[in-house]
Symmetry: C2
Subunit: 345 residues, 2 copies
DNA sequence: TTGTATGCGTTATCAC
DNA sequence: GTGATAACGCATACAA
């Protein structure tokens, strides 16, 4: 049972003080360069590695602000659950977080700005931002970033901001999976696909639709213009009627957001379940029914829980341990059929 | 910024010693029952929660022994990687582990017994066991369990042992997914499926084959007797030839183990790729080629990395924080097609 | 810049 | 059973 190598061990071996050794591992602390070099070499030699836990214990706490703009309930709740799960895992490590949740309808740009100003004033160390992507918000976010606050974007990235990283899903692969699934599900000569998206304002949906149309040609899928449901159920209901009124033949439907229920309802009502292959997005209670009924053949699970979890967890590790982060952290999109549905509920 | 509630806060409020408060949260420590009750109530009242990090820092270290019997390289390496990843995450928490790896061919029951005896003698706190499932091993494992050593089985459970829990994949769902995939891939009138399994000695493969045949009938799939490759490539090569020599028509092949390469090679050689739908198991380099060539239509990823990770991580939390564990911890089997293959490599 | 002393929140140890 | 005190491994305010 070899004795553990600590800063005391090194200090003794080198005839230096423990604080000198400690400082050697803190990049910005004042320490003679020569001395640091000697310590770092000795650390290598004796196999010393910093104990993150003990380190954290003696450091100052930090605070994370979270601002969420909810659109589809089923989706953003899972993200906040993920954030909370990560928090619970790190709560003993001197982290706290402050969640501000704007439910669908409650949101205004002014309110969001005010909240971010509050985070700024309270000198939070970092902020997680979800569902904001207009220019005013981008400016405000940059203001925080300039003040030294680390910003993480969740689900939708904010292009053009100085955010630290974005926690999202892999939309390129998700779109490619959908295309391949249609290839498997549909016969060669019946491949007209209608696409229903969430809000085309959202980079995620833009990307999903764009990538899907790219892959579609590879499999000989004909795309009907994308219908933008704006993530509002009523609009989806209206659009699906319009789609069937306008198009002579639809063989497949791809719904890139969680706003799929009105569409499923329409198909059930008109008994189109057998004739049309539907591929939806995400997993939630109401959708499960339609998967079990066979109206939805598959859905792409984008793991919103893990997206939330990753945002908080990677951020923590960055703050606490200066661990480098990829600019974009993604979850694996997963294919959910009736057979494996139970694992996702 | 409310001051943090610690054992000192409670001790002060209650006019007791910090030791008393600390002991109140350790079930087996000696403390007046009445006193404990008062402390627990006060903890509730003032919102005190134990700080796991500080707790761990002042506790004694513990040791975990790991014994791995390798069969298919691609598979068990990912499991040991997962174990190691978990270790790296907890290494600062006074855990150490001792890995004994038996490569394919190196393994004997005697050697394994000797290793386990060594673990016993060294009084390790827990042991993770993989790939052992004969009676001698079961007895030995029970011997450790009786000595108070917690045993975790990895991938294959050891039925009839007093193990703490088993970290594995969800074979019932995996089998059901395979059946549904064949349903999607094969026309109604061409559904003869040949099954190639790893070793039927292994509970995993027994379960996979059993569950698959259950679901098969639901989709009108005709099963040809399972071929047991014993996880040996040469045998797989021989059996696939035999299968095609014996059976008039084979439309699909399900390979329940990672021993799939000889079968793919046979199909490629005889240009059967277009005619036969192959569903394989796991993801590894050689298989990827056949997925890209279209010879393998799908593979079921059982996340051996996560299985290893879970074994170590859940065990850690059980040991360090007495966190309860499910008797069987499973990973989600995932469908891998060509379109999402890159995420699994 | 450097070293000393103290704190972080808890448990182990050892007297009582 | 109980309480004081020394760890645990590190960072840092403060003094030098």
């Amino acid at each position: 049972m070899e004795k553990k190598v600590t800063i005391y061990t090194l200090a003794e071996k080198l005839n230096m003080s423990v604080s000198a050794v400690s400082r050697a591992f803190t990049p910005n602390s004042k320490l003679n360069a020569e001395k640091r070099k000697i310590i770092l070499e000795a650390a290598e030699k004796y196999g010393y590695v910093q104990n993150k836990m003990a380190s954290r214990l003696s450091q100052n706490p930090f605070h994370i602000g979270v601002i969420m703009r909810g659109r589809i309930e089923a989706y953003y709740h899972q993200m906040t659950d993920g954030i909370n799960a990560a928090f619970l895992e790190f709560k003993d490590y001197k982290v706290s977080y402050d969640l501000r949740n704007y439910k669908p309808g409650e949101f205004t740009v002014e309110k969001a700005c005010k909240t971010l100003d509050e985070f700024l004033e309270k000198k939070y160390d970092a902020v997680i931002v979800h569902g904001l992507y207009n220019q005013d918000m981008i400016n405000k976010v940059n203001q925080l970033a300039d003040a030294g606050i680390k910003v993480v974007t969740l689900h939708n990235d904010m292009t053009g901001t100085k955010r630290l990283f974005c926690s999202t899903t892999n939309i390129a692969i998700a779109a490619s999976m959908v295309a391949q699934l249609f290839d498997i599900l549909l016969p060669k000569n019946h491949r007209n696909i209608a696409v229903f998206t969430g809000s085309m304002q959202s980079p995620i949906h833009q990307g999903l639709v764009f990538n899907f149309s790219n892959h579609a040609s590879r499999y000989g899928l004909n795309l009907i213009q994308p219908y933008d449901t704006l993530d509002i159920p009523d609009i989806a209901e209206r659009l699906v009627e319009e789609a069937f009124a306008t198009n002579a033949e639809i063989n497949g439907i791809y719904i890139s957001s969680a706003n799929s229920i009105p569409i499923c309802r329409f198909l059930e009502k008109h008994e189109l379940g057998d004739k049309i292959a539907v591929i939806a997005s995400d997993v939630f209670e109401e959708l499960s029914e339609y998967i079990r009924k066979g109206i939805v053949k598959a859905t792409i699970f984008q793991d919103p829980f893990a997206q939330g979890y990753n945002a908080f967890a990677k951020l923590y590790h960055y703050l606490a341990e200066s661990e480098p982060v990829q600019p974009v952290v993604t979850t694996k999109p997963q294919i959910v059929l009736e057979s494996n549905l139970s694992l996702y509920e």
